[in-house]
């Protein structure tokens, strides 16, 4: 029974109603209210007093035939004609806040524009162009010494290549692993860059998420911002990583692998070279006689030996923690250094994924999986590659190794001699200067360091960022304690090690090693020397390798994190340039202030973020906008919105990556079909041709369709999963019930079994990997005595043959048939029960958490059986 008078009424806003309520008087008798009624007839605006006074409101209604009036005190509307309450201002759902007209307008806008109309980025630009102040000037509350987090996040927030991905490509942000840090970051960015423009926010979900995944951040102690950045970046990469299709993998990463390496994924490389040289080998370890792997380590690690063992850059006075934790990763089929990997092998993920470490034995090949490389927005933005070469001074052989890095930890040369040496070597840089520069801050004791501080205090030549870079890339002499073990000479030799860049990241993150830690005395100190750094035009061409793949080598400063205080305690703030108004702002927890360039240049920088700049790309963007504005083309092409976002924010977006939203058959994979509109951008033909011509890549897509082949595969897979599961259950139940002891019992490696179980329980929307062939090696090695920690499951012959027929592998491991010996009936029943329990768990949808407990039991069981057998 809808009121027919609702079709037309004056759409007052809440604010206007409030104004009326405060100042309004009855149009007839000038009474003030409360309970004044405002006539809702279009253009009328009559105010009338209510029944408590003279009820001029009803009088007006009757006289002028205006049906609707709203009570300004209760904000309720009355229809005088229908004599009932009505609700003109209530929307049916929040989503339909906009009226139909507005919605149509938005759709039309979107059709005309290549840029997402509802994205905060587009809106921010529009608002700014309309004269409003820029978005993004939001501070963060400090919730317990969290300035390390606040400063870091502010620096990242003002890094468009990174943050715009989260703002515009929400469809690509996965929420698969608790506690969804990537999603927390995304929400935070949406709040900072959204319409509401709060003056400050409390980033609680991000903080809580980080504390959950990285327990070292629990509590409220001060932390180091660079460590936090690494943890955050690593985690986001873990959550968002996608495999790179094989045809796009970089070849360089596979160089110099000893045989049997299973994976050298970008992540683990990146993590290992966390700060490109904070490979955590202590000095003692390195000097031990090496295996092949650790020799390789030596060539790289020597640099870190000439520097302190990973310095404790924490602000607080905490004892040095082992960095090895972050070096060993969940994915670590990272075999390069089994020595260092074995420590701290705890899993880092909050979700308790166990790490599977494969030994680097050459006969691994049968069971090896093809190496997979991963990428994510993190690696796209921050990953670079360094080529470390070592030359043996005796036989002149060069040994090379490529490492990925996400930030460069630069030493700060202090003291006249070093600076002089660096300046000299800078001139020789092109010949890969053989001038060595030992990092003085770390190899000398602290007294000489103090001396250097005084020296530079009095005669301080200004240290520049270039000096630090030169120090980093300059050559190291490998001699004395740090001799190099040459492959060819097969002995320790004098060598020289130097590094060059083979791939430049879009955003170069530079970390200045200001904090120094003395392992013996647990003494921490900070180098507060001012380092001069350019705000624009940082050119790192001279550190490039001749084979560098990047074309752009110039960088502009984007953000800077500064530390104020001492190694014992201090405060972090950040300076960042807002991309909208190109002004510099200081972010000090909740306070955001505009600052001058000179203030930024004079700051004591700790972590610097430099962004590649390229005029050519800017011109390309303008060109694209121009092409879009031209007449509509009839045929539209689809581009991955992730790539398009890169094109808008990166200097070198690389080739077009339409495989972001396509399956290998060229259609849209079923799991993405629901959100495909968020994953693609529609562009006119001219734009497509222009972009493809310049950047290459593809494939060309003019029509989106859900891939039938994938769907069929998924259906088949689902069927297979169900079938395998049910068959197993069927056979295994039979096995449990069988009392006939003469049947042979087969053994199966529990670790393989768990993999298979996980496969069975996987969701059918992604394509889970079936486990490889059955791998019973661990349990077959010894008869009766099992490899330490090898876990065995017992299955019937039928089950074995079924699984073997699908997966192959082996070898077969058979238990001696159960034989009943007097007095052991009870014992046997007990064992059967235990076995059953274990298998039941496996059958159920548990992740077999109990298996590790029952492992002991099973081992015992088998041993008991052995004993029985021998008794016979």
């Amino acid at each position: 029974m809808k009121c027919p008078h609702l079709s037309k009424f004056e759409p007052y806003t809440k604010r206007q109603l409030a104004v009326f309520a405060n100042k309004g008087k009855c149009s007839s008798c000038a009474t003030e209210g409360p309970n004044l009624w405002l006539c809702l007839q279009m253009g009328c605006g009559n105010l009338g007093c209510g029944e408590a006074h003279s009820d001029h409101s009803s009088k007006h209604s009757n006289d002028s035939n205006h049906a609707l009036a709203i009570n300004l005190s209760t904000i309720r509307t009355w229809c005088n004609s229908c004599e009932m309450e009505v609700h003109p201002f209530v929307q049916s759902t929040i989503k339909n806040v906009k009226s139909v007209n507005q919605r149509d307008r938005l759709v039309k806008q979107q059709q005309q524009s290549v840029f997402r109309v509802d994205s905060p980025v587009t809106q921010a630009v529009t608002e700014f162009e309309d004269g409003k102040s820029p978005r993004g000037l939001t501070g963060f509350r400090n919730i317990g010494n969290t300035c390390y987090l606040n400063a870091a996040v502010q620096a990242l927030s003002n890094c468009p290549p990174f943050t715009h991905f989260f703002l515009e490509c929400g469809g690509y942000v996965k929420t698969e692993r608790k506690p969804y840090i990537a999603k927390s970051y995304q929400k935070l960015m949406e709040d900072v860059w959204g319409r509401r423009r709060p003056s400050h926010l409390t980033p609680s979900s991000l903080v809580n998420g980080i504390k959950q995944v990285f327990p070292m951040f629990k509590g409220f102690l001060q932390q180091d911002t660079q460590e936090f950045l690494r943890c955050l970046m690593d985690r986001i990469h873990e959550e968002l990583k996608e495999p790179i299709p094989p045809h796009l993998c970089e070849k360089g990463d596979d160089e110099d692998e000893p045989s049997g390496i299973v994976e050298k994924p970008v992540t683990s490389e990146r993590v290992r070279a966390r700060s490109c040289n904070s490979i955590s080998l202590t000095e003692e370890e390195k000097l031990e006689p090496e295996s092949e792997a650790s020799m390789r380590e030596k060539s790289v690690g020597s640099r870190s030996s000439s520097q302190s063992p990973p310095p404790d850059r924490r602000k607080g006075n905490k004892p040095r923690r082992s960095r090895k934790r972050t070096v060993s990763r969940a994915e670590s089929d990272q075999v390069n250094s089994p020595t260092e990997m074995n420590n701290g092998g705890d899993d880092e993920d909050g979700d308790g994924e166990p790490m599977i470490r494969k030994p680097a034995a050459p006969d691994v090949n049968v069971f090896k999986k093809r190496p997979v490389q991963y990428r994510s927005i993190v690696s796209d933005v921050f990953d670079g590659r360094v080529l470390s070469s070592v030359v043996c001074l005796t036989c002149d052989t060069k040994s090379k190794r490529i490492e990925a890095f996400q930030d460069l930890s630069l030493p700060i040369p202090v003291g006249k001699e070093d600076l002089a040496r660096i300046h000299a070597s800078q001139q020789n840089m092109t010949s890969k200067g053989m001038v060595s520069c030992v990092d003085t801050t770390n190899s000398q004791g602290w007294t000489s360091w103090m001396y250097n501080v005084l020296v530079s205090w009095f005669w301080g030549p200004k240290v520049t960022l270039e000096d630090c870079l030169s120090a980093f890339f300059s050559s190291d002499e490998l001699k004395g304690d740090n001799m190099y073990s040459c492959d060819k000479c097969k002995k320790l030799r004098n060598g020289v090690k130097y590094s060059t860049l083979t791939r430049l990241p879009e955003v170069l993150c530079i970390h200045l090693k200001r904090f120094r830690h003395e392992s013996m005395t647990s003494y921490s100190s900070k180098i507060s020397n001012y380092v001069k750094y350019p705000l624009e035009g940082l050119d790192i061409r001279k550190f490039l390798d001749k084979d560098c793949s990047s074309e752009v080598t110039t960088y502009d400063l984007n953000a800077v994190i500064c530390h104020h205080g001492t190694a014992g305690g201090g405060h972090y703030t950040a300076y960042a340039m807002n991309w909208l108004d190109e002004q510099w702002y200081e972010f000090d927890d909740t306070f955001v202030t505009e600052v001058s360039e000179s203030q930024v240049a004079d700051a004591e920088a700790y972590v610097l973020f430099y962004k590649k700049c390229s005029d050519e790309t800017i011109k390309m963007r303008e060109k694209v906008v121009g092409l879009c504005d031209e007449q509509e083309s009839l045929l539209h092409f689809y581009i991955s919105s992730q790539w398009f976002n890169k094109f808008q924010t990166f200097a070198e977006p690389g080739p077009i990556t339409n495989n972001d939203f396509l399956c290998k058959h060229g259609g849209v994979p079923p799991c993405k079909s629901a959100v495909v509109d968020e994953l693609v951008t529609k562009v006119p033909q001219t734009v497509w041709e222009c972009l493809q011509h310049r950047y290459g890549g593809g494939p060309t897509v003019t029509h989106l369709h859900v891939c039938k082949t994938c769907q069929e595969e998924l259906d088949r897979l689902q069927k297979r999963l169900t079938e395998e599961k049910q068959t197993f259950i069927k056979f295994h139940d039979k096995f449990q019930e069988e009392v006939d002891e003469t049947n042979t019992i087969y053994c199966i490696s529990l670790s393989w079994f768990r993999q298979w179980e996980k496969f069975l329980n996987s969701k059918s929307t992604d394509f889970p990997e079936p486990p490889g062939p059955i791998d019973n090696r661990a349990i077959s090695v010894s008869k009766g005595r099992h490899t330490k920690g090898a876990e065995i499951g017992q299955i019937s012959k039928e089950t074995w043959e079924y699984l073997y027929s699908i997966y192959g592998g082996g070898p077969e491991v058979i238990e001696q048939p159960n034989n009943v010996v007097n007095g052991t009936d009870d014992e046997e029943e007990e064992e059967d029960e235990k076995e059953e329990d274990k298998m039941k768990d496996a059958r159920g949808d548990n992740e077999a958490k109990d298996e590790s407990c029952s492992e002991e039991e099973i081992n015992e069981e088998v041993v008991n059986k052995e004993n029985q057998d021998s008794k016979l």
Partner: protein, 103 residues
């Protein structure tokens, strides 16, 4: 004019008396219970609950206050009440008044 103010007083007094009577006889409680049951039965509670969740989701959990929420969902709640429920309650109240008039 005097008439008008008289009427005002008279109205206010009426309101107070009726209310008092409702409480005394327990009718108010009964009506409240009836209303509660009716609103649950017709799905009003669930609808409003869903709307509430939408509001929280749209605004973000960190930004929403109870007062905000109440202000946002109140008009919606009013709109969602079905006419039948309104009618029935009215009827009950009228019946009550009729009873009272005879006393």
């Amino acid at each position: 004019m005097a008439e008008l103010s008289d009427r005002k007083h008279h109205d206010a007094k009426m309101r107070a008396t009726i209310h008092q009577k409702m409480v005394e006889t327990g009718e108010k409680e009964r009506l409240k219970e009836l209303l509660r049951a009716k609103l649950i039965e017709c799905g009003w509670r669930d609808q409003l609950k869903a709307y509430c969740k939408e509001v929280v989701r749209t605004k973000g959990l960190e930004h929403v206050t109870v007062d905000d929420l109440v202000a946002e969902i109140t008009p919606k709640g009013r709109e969602l009440v079905p006419d039948e429920v309104k009618k029935e309650l009215l009827q009950r109240i009228r019946a009550f008044l009729a009873d009272q008039a005879t006393i």
